[in-house]
């Protein structure tokens, strides 16, 4: 997206809104990516499916954060806050998955699952 490059977080009083076109462009891209993710989601690509879906979702989310939420113009502190919250979400995931991937498979709940709960006293 070349045309954002001309947008600089210039002095406060200067930016009186962007061209509306930019918002519509982002919107169009978001719809395009939605269509892409639906199409790739229905293809059978094996393990790649989830990564493609997450990749597209991340791209969409990045577009929303950068342009709809104006992260491009936000001060450093705000960017840092948001990025840090994402980083710690990932820390939570990694910590738990470090456990799941290396746990004895026999101790995983999926080893002997039941959908019917036994009667409790």
């Amino acid at each position: 997206m070349a045309h954002e490059a001309t947008e600089t977080p210039a002095s406060k009083d200067e930016h009186h809104g962007h061209g509306v076109g930019r918002y519509f462009l982002v919107w169009g891209l978001l719809l395009l990516f939605t269509a892409t993710t639906v199409i790739t989601g229905r293809m059978d690509l094996g393990a790649a499916n989830i990564f493609i879906a997450l990749f597209i979702a991340t791209v969409k989310a990045t577009l929303v954060v950068l342009f709809f939420m104006h992260m491009t113009e936000a001060p450093g502190a705000n960017r840092l806050v948001f990025v840090v919250s994402l980083v710690f979400s990932i820390v939570l995931m990694i910590g738990v998955f470090g456990d799941l991937w290396t746990r004895n498979p026999m101790t995983l709940p999926s080893a002997a699952p039941t959908t019917e709960a036994p009667e409790r006293p």
Binding site: T34, I56, A61, F68, M69, V81, F82, S85, L86, P113
Partner: protein, 216 residues
């Protein structure tokens, strides 16, 4: 009160800030921090999702095929469009175009209602089919082990998201009422901006929920 703010009488400036710029900076930082907490709130649910998807890969795959894909797509389009309109509302008020801003907010709120209505219909179908979470699960078409957990995660995640939609919608209605009363102008529009940020967050969460729940 110190004398420093006596020469700058701005009704929106609280007594403990020197300038309105500093106050706006503080309010925006506070909002981003709040959005950060929301990210971590949903991170817990996404964690639950990934863990059980890891355990019950097949069941999750099969169960996701039994959601109404078109409802999901429609809702995605509705939310993305509402995200656009709320961004346009912010853009409009920044230029002092109050009427345009109000119009865009009304459109956003209508989108929010549409989203909830579609979600409600989807929920209704699932209730009838018996695709309910945990011990209530009795959906005959997906019997793979772990399918009940798919619906647990589905209802918890979409339920929490729907709750955020309702909250976001209420905030936008409140902001709309203030726009209509002429509280905002090109020199004071921070609440519109913050309400918009919250609404974008609702959209962000859905951007991830949609492929994870409907498409995998």
């Amino acid at each position: 009160m110190s004398s420093s703010d006596a020469h700058a009488p701005n009704p929106h400036l609280a007594h403990h800030y020197e300038t309105i710029e500093k106050q706006d900076y503080a309010v925006r930082l506070g909002m981003w921090l709040f959005l950060g907490t929301e990210v971590l709130l949903f991170a817990g649910l996404f964690l639950g999702y990934t863990v059980y998807r890891h355990f019950y890969h097949e069941a999750f795959h099969e169960a996701s095929r039994h959601l109404d894909l078109w409802a999901g797509i429609t809702n995605t389009v509705v939310l993305i469009t509402s995200s656009l309109s709320v961004a346009l509302a912010y853009n409009a008020i920044k230029q002092g175009k109050t009427k345009l801003c109000a119009g865009m907010l009304i459109f956003t709120i209508v989108c929010a209602f549409t989203f909830l209505a579609i979600k409600g219909i989807e929920y209704h179908h699932k209730f009838q089919e018996g695709a309910l979470p945990g011990k209530w699960y009795h959906y005959a078409e997906v019997t793979a082990p772990g399918a009940n957990l798919y619906y647990t995660v589905y209802f918890l995640a979409t339920g929490l998201h729907a709750f955020h939609v309702i909250v976001g919608m209420s905030i936008l209605i409140w902001i709309l009422s203030r726009v209509l009363r002429g509280h905002f102008s090109e020199s004071y529009y921070v609440p519109v901006e913050l309400g918009g940020l919250y609404w974008h967050l609702v959209d962000l969460v859905w951007i991830f929920l949609f492929p994870l729940l409907y498409l995998i």
